[in-house]
């Protein structure tokens, strides 16, 4: 069994009856589990977290579009969060027994179905992007729903699927594949904010550091400490232990030690296994040697 996560962002965060109806419809799809949902009235936006295999997830996403197209009209939609569509963004995330390539294929397949069934233009983003200028969600969403008609008419912003004009009420949508995000913070045994800021600048991609790291230096005033606060966008390619060792070396050159680190929220098991392999200098180790993996596979076959 493979598990893919899907996190649709819907442009409705005020009318609870609409969001409830969408959540119920998703949960009724055989093989899909609604793990989490949250709505924000000021953003006028809801985020659902689903998990399942590829085919049922695609069916669930189409169900969401069906209800969103019926009930959401972006011409009268207001809210603080940028959006271009009634269903604004749909990322697929590989979790277990699924690869990034599987999620890219699922994104393309879902995008094709959405454009055909609803006449909505679709952009592919992140891992599924068809050109570098479409990798970043913020770039695609620039100008929002209100600027969409003009934008879609330019050759540069022709959609990856569907017509080169917005759906009158549902706008456009962005579908793609990305790795799980890991929120990772390292606390330094100092109150010198300049040190945290320098280390953040050294480690983050945007200023020349590690490819899948976003970072900033902040103060934890209540503890008289500073923190390098990070988002790791691909812990498979830029592993947590590489980030830790990098920050440790940078801190040392300022005469500062790491006090502790923390993972906020969820982390893929493979990221921790990978850190253990690194520090224990493990050779010839495969995830098939993890007892639970072996048992789970054996238990899922047959009975």
């Amino acid at each position: 069994m493979s598990i893919i996560e899907c996190v649709p962002n819907i442009s409705e965060g005020r009318r609870a009856d609409i969001v409830d109806a969408i959540a119920r419809a998703v949960d009724a799809v055989e093989g899909v589990r609604l793990l989490d949902r949250s709505s924000d009235a000021s953003h006028n936006r809801s985020v659902l977290t689903l998990a399942g295999e590829a085919a049922p997830l695609k069916a669930a996403v189409l169900t969401i579009f069906d209800l969103a197209v019926q009930h959401i009209d972006l011409r009268s939609h207001t809210g603080e969060h940028p959006r271009i569509g009634a269903v604004d963004v749909v990322p697929f995330v590989p979790i277990e027994g699924a690869t990034m390539a599987d999620c890219v294929a699922l994104a393309r397949d879902t995008a094709s179905a959405v454009s055909e069934r609803f006449g909505i233009p679709v952009f592919l983003y992140e891992g599924a992007a068809t050109r570098p200028s479409r990798t970043n969600l913020a770039d695609i969403r620039r100008g929002q729903f209100e600027g969409l008609a003009a934008r879609l008419a330019t050759p540069e912003w022709a959609p990856d699927f569907g017509p080169p004009r917005p759906h009158p009420t549902a706008g456009a949508t962005v579908i793609g594949a990305r790795m799980p995000l890991v929120a990772y913070n390292i606390n330094l045994d100092t109150d010198r904010l300049d040190v945290a800021k320098k280390i953040a600048a050294a480690v983050r991609f945007s200023s020349g550091g590690l490819r899948y790291v976003k970072a900033m230096g902040i103060s934890l005033a209540d503890r008289s400490l500073v923190q390098v606060s990070m988002n790791l966008t691909n812990v498979e390619h830029t592993p947590i232990h590489v980030v830790f060792d990098f920050v440790q070396r940078e801190a040392a050159r300022h005469g500062v030690r790491i006090l502790e680190s923390e993972i906020v929220g969820l982390v893929p098991a493979s990221a921790l296994v990978s850190a253990a392999r690194h520090y224990l200098q493990l050779e010839h180790f495969t995830t098939d040697q993890v007892l639970e993996n072996r048992l789970r596979r054996a238990l899922s076959i047959g009975h």
Copy 2:
């Protein structure tokens, strides 16, 4: 869902039809999965590996006893491996969502049922032992089947369950609870066997080292290296990273470096997560933050 592993050792390794019948019967128990089986003719012994929840595992073990009592007669049994019973040893091992205490309770419950249903005396061992002299399997099995009647008649070796005399054909049996074993080797960047032997002596429990470590120093002649070859009998209480760091310090005092380490066979995921936590100095981390654990739990509830 909780997963417990059970590894019954049966005193029959030559008559394939008997072992096949036992394996088939086990596999037919709803909720139990036969993960592995191996028979050794010179030992005249077979080892089954089962997994499942407590109640079905108990049912499977009783099925094994039923067939073993019918078909195995220790009075005519020969083989190299020490044994006191037709079903010789039955350890329960906590894997996921189950604790050592759960496995001790299951061992007692199963032992009680075996003694009542078959009139077989049962010793509890390892985690389930009722006194220190019964912790070690080799101590319980001393004198084997042939010495059993005399031994059971002494107050010191009164069984934990069942009558103080052997079953005429099936002898006695040993049932208990233990942690998963981890075979862990550390290769040193030297060919000096004396160094590996000194480090093994320093790290192993029997000569004053870490509590849950067995170790010996050996040569890997084909690679001109030496190895500290270990069995870790409880990686929860004596974690892998503690062993690694200990060996690294001991090696350093002989001017030797660790080249690599290796895990042979299976390892519980928690042991690797624990190593990652240690080296990354992770604070406030719970296994509930492991994405797969969260998803699996969510997926197992409801649908």
